[in-house]
Symmetry: C2
DNA sequence: ACCTGAACACCGTTCAAGT
DNA sequence: ACCTGAACACCGTTCAAGT
């Protein structure tokens, strides 16, 4: 009995398949479950095959992180889109999209932002999407400042602060560091609205926030 | 030639030594360099010896995290001490101690707060020091509210927000996510003072912040 | 150009055995 | 009670060889 040729020797789009497989494993087994060998197995190739496309595990993680950042950028973009010329609404919707991304896929968020990728500076695609996202936030902040919705001061600093506020709360929530005493009494939404209100000079419209 | 008895068969205080060794490795080689076998080697015992004191690697990580949290608590306590009955100064000094802890030993900070420890709820000592620290912050916030230094509202929510703000900024700084365009123009100190100013109803006294 | 299979060094964990 | 040494399954990485 001759061996059946299993489809074909070449995979077709292995590089892409590896990234997708990695994201899947991340969602189901977490950061510690993400191994190169599992990713290869899931893509139906030998454990050495990934090295044809990624120089090492960090390079695959860089690709997964970059994809995470891109998804985040897209999510923020779609969330903002309905609110042309309404900077406050844009800010809130964008912020909420960031939060949702973190809470919906905490391990992808972690890989993208929490130092699993060790030398992000070595990966130009990651640096690029990071820069683009930040620039977008800065221009939203500037629009808010012009509309007297945010205080004055250097917009980059304000953008970093707002980003930091959201990032910190999402991180603490994901890691389960926020005590149940607090979470039983106040919803995630309340906590974030209170946080954003520290920055804005006008009340935060809560009707935008889905869920 | 008979074998020299190498000191003694028993280590003496292996449990403690393993935690210290782990913290050392963390500082020099980062999270990915922290292995049980290295920790054992550094303590001069076989690679199976740690299992007499810790059920698995996560249990050692829990001990390292708990020690990190204790050091943080102590650091905040000493920073606050000089400012009895001056809630604003206490808040600033405590916040700055948190930031310093993160920037001085980023990998210990990461292990303590960024999900390297996977089920912190299983480790009562960790949960306990976490609770104590948070309670301390809440009571500082309450004192600030009474002195009209912070806005009203549920103190736990405000405490979570302030903690989240600091935590987010420290995390982004550690991970190198804050662009050089910003860091070249504004110091860490400036960024944190601006951040804290969003919360306070009075100007933030910067003379407290060492460095 | 893309992939396989064997090999190597390293890791976490277990367990029978030694002191 | 505390530690060792051998063993096992798994991992990242390399490399000669196959298609």
């Amino acid at each position: 009995m001759p061996v059946m040729p299993k489809k074909s020797y070449h995979h077709g789009d292995l590089k892409n398949s590896l990234v997708k497989a990695g994201i899947g494993i991340l969602a189901r087994e977490g950061v510690s479950g993400l191994t190169l060998r599992k990713v290869a197995r899931k893509s139906g190739v030998s454990h050495a095959a990934p090295y044809a496309h990624f120089s090492d595990k960090q390079a695959l993680i860089a690709a997964i992180s970059t994809e995470g950042f891109k998804r985040l950028y897209e999510a923020m973009d779609s969330a903002i889109e309905p609110y042309a010329d309404r900077p406050l609404e844009q800010l809130i919707a964008g912020a909420w999209a960031y939060v949702q991304f973190g809470l919906n896929d905490p391990d992808h968020f972690k890989v993208t932002f929490s130092g699993v990728l060790e030398k992000e500076k070595d990966y130009p695609a990651f640096v690029e999407i990071s820069r683009r996202t930040f620039d977008r936030v800065v221009s939203m902040v500037e629009a808010c400042q012009r509309a007297n919705i945010l205080r004055g001061g250097p917009p980059e600093v304000l953008a970093v602060n707002i980003w930091g506020q959201l990032h910190g709360l999402v991180s603490l929530l994901i890691e389960g560091q926020i005590s149940h005493k607090v979470l039983d009494k106040y919803s995630t939404k309340e906590i974030f609205v209170t946080a954003l209100s520290q920055f804005t000079l006008v009340p935060v419209p809560t009707d935008i926030l889905s869920i």
